[in-house]
Symmetry: D2
Amino acid sequence: MKDLGIGIIGTGFMGRSHAMAYAAAAGILPGVPRLRLVAVADVDEGAAARAAAQFGFARHTTDWRDLVSDPAIDAVAITTPNVLHREMALAAIAAGKHVHCEKPLAPTAADARVMTQAAEAAGVVTQVGFNYLKNPLLGLARDMVAAGELGTIHSFRAIHAEGFMADPDLPHAWRLDPSGGPGALGDIGSHAIALARFLLGPVDAVWADLETVIKDRPVAAGARERKPVLVDDIARLALRFARGCRGTVEANWVATGRTMQLAFDIHGSRGALSFTQERFNELLFHRAGGDPRHAGYVRIEAGPQHEPYGHFCVAPGHQLGFNDLKTIEVADFLRAVAGGPRRGPDFREALAVQEVIDAALVSAREERWVAVPG
Amino acid sequence: MKDLGIGIIGTGFMGRSHAMAYAAAAGILPGVPRLRLVAVADVDEGAAARAAAQFGFARHTTDWRDLVSDPAIDAVAITTPNVLHREMALAAIAAGKHVHCEKPLAPTAADARVMTQAAEAAGVVTQVGFNYLKNPLLGLARDMVAAGELGTIHSFRAIHAEGFMADPDLPHAWRLDPSGGPGALGDIGSHAIALARFLLGPVDAVWADLETVIKDRPVAAGARERKPVLVDDIARLALRFARGCRGTVEANWVATGRTMQLAFDIHGSRGALSFTQERFNELLFHRAGGDPRHAGYVRIEAGPQHEPYGHFCVAPGHQLGFNDLKTIEVADFLRAVAGGPRRGPDFREALAVQEVIDAALVSAREERWVAVPG
Amino acid sequence: MKDLGIGIIGTGFMGRSHAMAYAAAAGILPGVPRLRLVAVADVDEGAAARAAAQFGFARHTTDWRDLVSDPAIDAVAITTPNVLHREMALAAIAAGKHVHCEKPLAPTAADARVMTQAAEAAGVVTQVGFNYLKNPLLGLARDMVAAGELGTIHSFRAIHAEGFMADPDLPHAWRLDPSGGPGALGDIGSHAIALARFLLGPVDAVWADLETVIKDRPVAAGARERKPVLVDDIARLALRFARGCRGTVEANWVATGRTMQLAFDIHGSRGALSFTQERFNELLFHRAGGDPRHAGYVRIEAGPQHEPYGHFCVAPGHQLGFNDLKTIEVADFLRAVAGGPRRGPDFREALAVQEVIDAALVSAREERWVAVPG
Amino acid sequence: MKDLGIGIIGTGFMGRSHAMAYAAAAGILPGVPRLRLVAVADVDEGAAARAAAQFGFARHTTDWRDLVSDPAIDAVAITTPNVLHREMALAAIAAGKHVHCEKPLAPTAADARVMTQAAEAAGVVTQVGFNYLKNPLLGLARDMVAAGELGTIHSFRAIHAEGFMADPDLPHAWRLDPSGGPGALGDIGSHAIALARFLLGPVDAVWADLETVIKDRPVAAGARERKPVLVDDIARLALRFARGCRGTVEANWVATGRTMQLAFDIHGSRGALSFTQERFNELLFHRAGGDPRHAGYVRIEAGPQHEPYGHFCVAPGHQLGFNDLKTIEVADFLRAVAGGPRRGPDFREALAVQEVIDAALVSAREERWVAVPG
């Protein structure tokens, strides 16, 4: 297996996170091909240069097209604002690159469909950055649901609440630009929807209430002039799953006090699971029946028995960090690029998430249940 | 102040709870008039006799009308299935009694309105058993919201989840009889709606999805014959409050693993609260701003600084129990009967809860937002 | 069974707690004889009068000897400072009364021994107020240890930490008077030692370090004059149990921030328990072995399956309060008085606790392990 | 600044952890010199070869002396059983290398003293692997204590409990060989003692009870023959700090159910801290005074405001993992090697920990308080 050449576009929160993960993956997880860290692109040349130097990439550029067309690069990681994903991904696919793209995949399902079709037509491997799904305990949760350990699923509830947009004087920025799609619904709601599908499978229909809590914001940091906010701060969804159960999802980025509450509760006829990303090395599991004296939720602690935790640490209870989840995601992508199993979530899966989002937008506008394309 | 004569109708879970609370209230809480425990009524004579003997009531009867018309009785506590509340309450009111009625007040808002109007016309004091609201820490929460300590409220989410109906072989019983109104929505959803109003005030409009998870159940315990269930097991509501914010409520009585999860999260521009009845002597409070090194939720522990905790125990952290909440409710009722402040929740408040429920039923049927009568 | 006449000496924190529990016990728990609430004694006549009126006692007195010699009284509850317990208990026993005494039983083991011998010679029933042991979940814990569910016990650790003495300007009072015995060691350490014995049985030997953290305190509230504190604020004990395992106990009443941390961890070869009175309706249980994917502590919630929870509430997870534990204690005492099983802890058990305390005092003075009389 | 050449001796749990951290540090944390990963040594050639390949080291060897004398290597990481640390560290120091050594530094304080003196004489930088101290929240805790935010310290309690030795059929291995020093006391107790010193400074005197719970173990995996265990499974220490306060430490490696309970409670006159490594991205802080309605512990969540969290992730609440702590440790070491501040803990600090351990051994043998050399 020849070394894979990697290029990363973007050097923000996620750009850094990708760079760290690409640098770490081969050393930590088995079956990951060796990499050549070829190039970093950012419109800010200083940022690009610093990131390249910091993470050991061979060169940097301010022109992502230059990176995408570099024959030394086999796989491209796109970590820019989502309004840019489509153009970049299509160019990368056209150049025959495998593509690792941050979430949400695109502003609309239509964009995501074009990207998915292009990738599938080209036969390249794709990966989308729903990194929380890479938590070994969420893999356990999905396996338990699939194996029937919870019995028939009665209900689902997920929340993705953070407070990073709660300050009304936080100025406009790309996350608030409607050209990028919805607000909290797309930005963090996509995580919760991806989680819902990961655990329980396809969603048939959705109902949504979208709300803009901070009606206007400064046009720029410190500016007195304000302009209206046109995207949602809070999205409240009701879901009907193809498997027959129902549930809700709330995405809320004005949730003062919360920093990383991606949480869910699943109740089934034989058991229940409860989880929050705030303590993501723990999964609460209730099994119906058994000795009634001991009835309660078990606080399962992540350990080497939960793949691939053991590659990070041989001792249970020592805990993975956020960046480790990204490392697992990168490893999954790279192994797929090297011909291994495609664990996803890939563009096709991200398209399905986007279709739930688009249906939610229609629902919120028309105040009715909306079917999600199958 | 002359001693007040008390009669209780019903000897089940709530009947016992009321009896204990009436026996305890005057000894624990200040300003409570002395009581004469006059009579207990239950259709099961043995149960009535046992309850009277156990809790120190002077007599028992199988005929609630006999109790309601007893001139020695000043106040009647109604703890029967809710389909019976209207008739009993109206008779008690007609006899000039003060009425303490379990929740939900009635199967429909129409019933509740008749009861409320009768009580108000008669000038009697009423109280409805939304006992969880009597938690000193929920009083603190309401006061904090009212004082603006959380700033402008951004969002609300409440859950009342229990698993007591999760077993599909649990037979039909009065809670499942549609003559009593909805299922989980009325039974435990009424608690969550009362909580929403308690904390944030009136609800303008509601949307609801009602679901029957266990489609049929045995006609009786152990029976092989099953008949369809016509009430909801899970109710998922979206709310729009008159104050301008929005939220959701889920009522779920098939939530395997949960026993008493009446929980809420409120996020405001300046702070947040988080609570669950599973640990009801604790209230989590996040205050925005302050020293960023110490940012996080405070776990407030109930103590004598939270009225009326100190009358139960002078030491903080020792914890109230469920029955203590009922005792506070009874004391509030009795003090109002004795001419003190009417702290409620009274029939008028319970009617408002019922109107949200009725609107939710319409919404679920017609799949649209429904205004709640003001 | 004739009604039992009850007298209570003392109207402070514990006096009130006893009064509430005596008033409640017969109504809540089965097999409790009916009571006549005969008299309350307190040196402060107003306090005595108010308590009698509040809790429904027939009369009050400022002379405890008058109460103790009242032929209408069958059982006496002593809730005064512990320096007074011996004289009061001996007088009550001499008058043929059953005695319910607050903890610690006496300032010294010698006192406790005299009291125990007198009670046993007289054949009266005794009960000591280690109320936390009445928690249904601690009964479960003890039963699990006894049944071998934890295997061979490897270790024990208990903490009783509260902060009520942390303020250096809190003045001298009876708890700080060495005539009453040690400080934190006796006051709250006695709870932790009683817990250790309850769960694991007799203690063979003890080592102790006693520390006075606040070296002097005001002679009275607000006084500028200070005098030295001669009792311990923190007691740190190492224990060797007769069963072969070892452990530690810390009693600390200057633990700023803690209000009711009576906590323990037991580890055995096959399992472990973890508990804190701060959430006393929960018991954490880890069972070794089993499916490794699910390894972790179960959070057992108290429910009707844990006797006698169900007499307070038929629904699990609703939670007992502190006063309910006292009610269970009173019921156990009264049933024993009525000829039922003697569940204790009685004077003999409290004497054994006191002997551990006395041994700890010797150990702290002589800096060596000290055997506890068997 | 020229690139630093790194060699690692040992490829077990800690060898891997070091390798990952050395590979990651320069990319993540600022001011870290660039590295050349020169060599890995392990007596097992296959393990050495695999580790070198996996983590990107240029060569491997079975002879640690070969590695230590390699002129291309500037710094040596020693991750072997602690009985080997002295010889390896002295050789590395003699060769002019900077030394990063795992904890405990050596079997005895005498060994640690020789190592410390050699390192100081040679002027090389040293670092010891008390990685938990690198937690940004523990830095906060230490700073808060130092700044007086807790007032005068009243008490300290630390626990390091894990269950990895609880199985009586786990065979003898190097951790149980008394040539390596004590058992749990040295292996995990050293962490708790290092933590005590980190937070509260020097220890003046120690008392200890050491216990061997599993009296004998198989001579090898699966063997029927057993031989006695000569080291402690549980160490219980009482400490007197130079600053005047006292405390306790328990080290317990037979604590069934616990995986990573390195926990402490500090109570001071103005506040308190509570922590467990089981949730090491959280620190509980109670501040005395303030609004009594809100009294309780704040659950501080780690975020970018707690250096150097922000270099791993710009968003709060996303959580560091165990390996990230090791990365911080490595970065601190490498910056010191490059002439930056020496943050330690260095050999001198580890010697001080060892002196507490040695004093504890004397105390346990002689059953008395033992002064710790200053």
